[in-house]
C-alpha cells in the first residue's frame, strides 16, 4: 500500500549540560495512507518528540521524513496536543477556524467550515462559548475539530484522551473511530495505554528503550466494531507488554 509518511533513519538528540542525549535512534517507519496507527511507549520514550518532528516543532538530528501528500496544502498534517491548548481569548468556533486563517477564505467561509468540523465532533451548539466554559472532554473535542477543520491528510494525535475520565475517554474513542471511517484520514495516534491502542488501531507500533527505537510492530485485524475486551488480541497485548518491559509491573499490580 502507498505510504503517506516515510521515516528513514530518524535520530534526534537534545543538547543537555553540554552533552548530547539521544531521544530517538535511527527510526524507520512507513505510514500507509488511510491507516489508523497507534504508537505505544512508556512515558519519556520519545513519542511526543516523534510527532513534534513530523509537524515541524522539532528538528531531527539525522535521517529524513518524506511526505507524499497529494493536496499541495500549506498544512498537510495537523496535530492534536495532549492538553487541548485552545486559545482562551477565542470563542469555540474561532478556535476551530484558527488554522484556516491566511488561506484565502472569507470570514464567512471559515466560519462555515469551522461549524462543519464542530458538527463532526457533535459540538455545534457550543460554537459561541468561551473555552473556559467547556468540560475537559469538550475541550479535547474542540481541539480535534480544530485539527479536522484544516482538512489534513494525516491527523497526529498525542495522547489526546489520557487526561480524561474513563467514561468520557471511551466515548471519544468511539467517536474517533467513527470520524476516521467517515473521513478516511490517516491517523497516527500516540498513547501509553495498550488497550486503547488495540481497541483503536489497525497497527500498533511499540517504541521502547533509551534512546527510543522501534521495538515491535503488530497488525490488529480484529473486525470492527470491536469490543473492549482485548481477549482476541491477548498475544499482542502480551508481546507489547514484554517489549515495554512492564510485564512484571503490570502483572504484579493485578494480583
Amino acid at each position: 500500500m502507498e505510504s503517506v509518511i516515510d521515516i528513514r533513519g530518524l535520530s534526534l538528540a537534545f543538547e543537555r549540560d553540554g552533552h548530547r542525549t539521544f531521544v530517538l535512534d535511527s527510526l524507520d517507519l512507513s505510514i500507509e495512507r488511510g491507516a489508523f496507527i497507534a504508537i505505544v511507549g512508556a512515558s519519556g520514550v520519545g513519542k511526543s518528540t516523534l510527532l513534534r518532528v513530523l509537524i515541524g516543532l522539532a528538528k531531527a538530528s539525522a535521517g529524513e521524513v518524506t511526505l507524499s501528500t497529494h493536496s499541495g496544502k500549506r498544512q498537510p498534517l495537523a496535530l492534536v496536543f495532549q492538553d487541548a491548548r485552545l486559545l482562551p481569548w477565542r470563542r469555540v468556533v474561532d478556535n476551530v477556524s484558527f488554522g484556516l486563517e491566511g488561506g484565502g477564505l472569507s470570514r464567512a467561509e471559515r466560519r462555515a467550515k469551522a461549524l462543519d468540523a464542530l458538527g463532526i465532533v457533535g459540538l455545534v451548539d457550543l460554537a459561541d462559548r468561551w473555552p473556559h466554559q467547556l468540560s475537559g472532554g469538550q475541550r479535547q473535542r474542540v481541539a480535534l475539530a480544530r485539527a479536522l477543520a484544516v482538512e489534513p491528510e494525516v491527523l497526529l494525535m498525542d495522547e489526546p484522551f489520557s487526561a480524561l475520565d474513563a467514561i468520557t475517554r471511551e466515548g471519544l474513542q468511539d467517536e474517533l473511530v467513527r470520524i476516521w471511517r467517515l473521513t478516511g484520514k490517516t491517523i497516527l495516534f500516540v498513547t501509553h495505554d495498550i488497550e486503547e491502542a488495540i481497541y483503536l488501531a489497525d497497527r500498533v507500533v511499540v517504541l521502547a528503550g533509551a534512546p527510543g527505537r522501534l521495538a515491535a510492530d503488530h497488525l490488529i485485524d480484529t473486525p470492527r466494531p470491536r469490543t473492549r475486551s482485548a481477549d482476541g488480541s491477548a498475544d499482542v497485548v502480551a508481546s507489547v507488554r514484554r517489549h515495554l518491559g512492564a510485564e512484571k509491573l503490570i502483572d504484579g499490580a493485578a494480583i
Binding site: L57, A78, F81, R85, L87, F98, E101, H132
Partner: protein
Amino acid sequence: MTDLIASAAARATASDAASGAKLRAAGLAAAGLLVFLLVWEVVPRLGLFNPLMLPGPSAIPAAFWSELKSGAWGSAVGSSLGHYTIGLTLGALLGVVFGVATGMSRLAEQATAWIVRVLRPIPGLAWVPFAIIWFGVNRTAAVFIIAIGVFWIVFFAAHGAVRSVERDLIEVADAFGFRRWHERLLKILLPAALPGILVGLRTALGQAWMAVVAAEIFGVPGLGQRMMQASSLLATELVVVYMLTMAALYGLLDSAFVALQNWLLRWKA
C-alpha cells in the same frame, strides 16, 4: 416536607441577611460622608480655622456654578483632557511598541538593556527643565511630560506580559503553520499579553493624571493652572472646586477604563 420548608426559610433569611448587610454598609458609608462634610462645615464656622483658608462645603456649589457660567471650568477641563489624552495615547503606543519588541526579540532587549537602565530611574518630573527648554511652557511640554511617565509603565508591563506568554500557545501557531513574526504577534502574543498590558495601562492612567496636574502647576493651561491662579487670589473655594473636579474626572476615566477592560477580557474565567 417540613425539611423543605425549613431549608427554604433558611435560604430566605440567608439572602435577607446578605442584602441587609449590603444596605447597612451603604448606609454607614453615607453616614460617614455626612459626618465628614458636617465637621468640614462646622470647623471654619466655629472660628477654629480661618474660613478664608478653608471654605466650608456649602460655599462650593456657588463657586462651581459661577466658574461654570464664566466658561473657565469648561475650558480648563477641555485643555487638561486634551493633553492628557494626547500624552497618554502617545506614551502608551510607544510603550506597547517598544515593550512588545523587546519582549519578542532577545536582540532588541539586549541592545536596549543599558539605555533602559540609565533612563528608567529618572523621575518623570525631572524632565520638566528640558520640556520647558525644548518646547516652552505649553501643551507640547505637558504632553511630553505625561507621555514619558506613561511610556515606562506601559513599556515594562508590555515587555513582561509578552515575555511570559506560554510557549505552549506559541507552539499552537507553529503547528498550524503560522511561523512568521507578525503571525505570531497578532494571533498569539498580543491577545495573550493583553491582560498584562491592560494592567499597565490602568496604572498609567492614574500616573498620567498626576503628571497633568504637575505640568499645569508649572503654567501649562488647564485644571492645575486654574487652581494655582485661584490659590494666588485666595479663592480657596475655587481651589476645592478644582480638586474635586480632578477627583471626579479621574474616577470617571478609571471606571470607564475598567468597563472597557472587563469587556476586552470577557473571555477570562
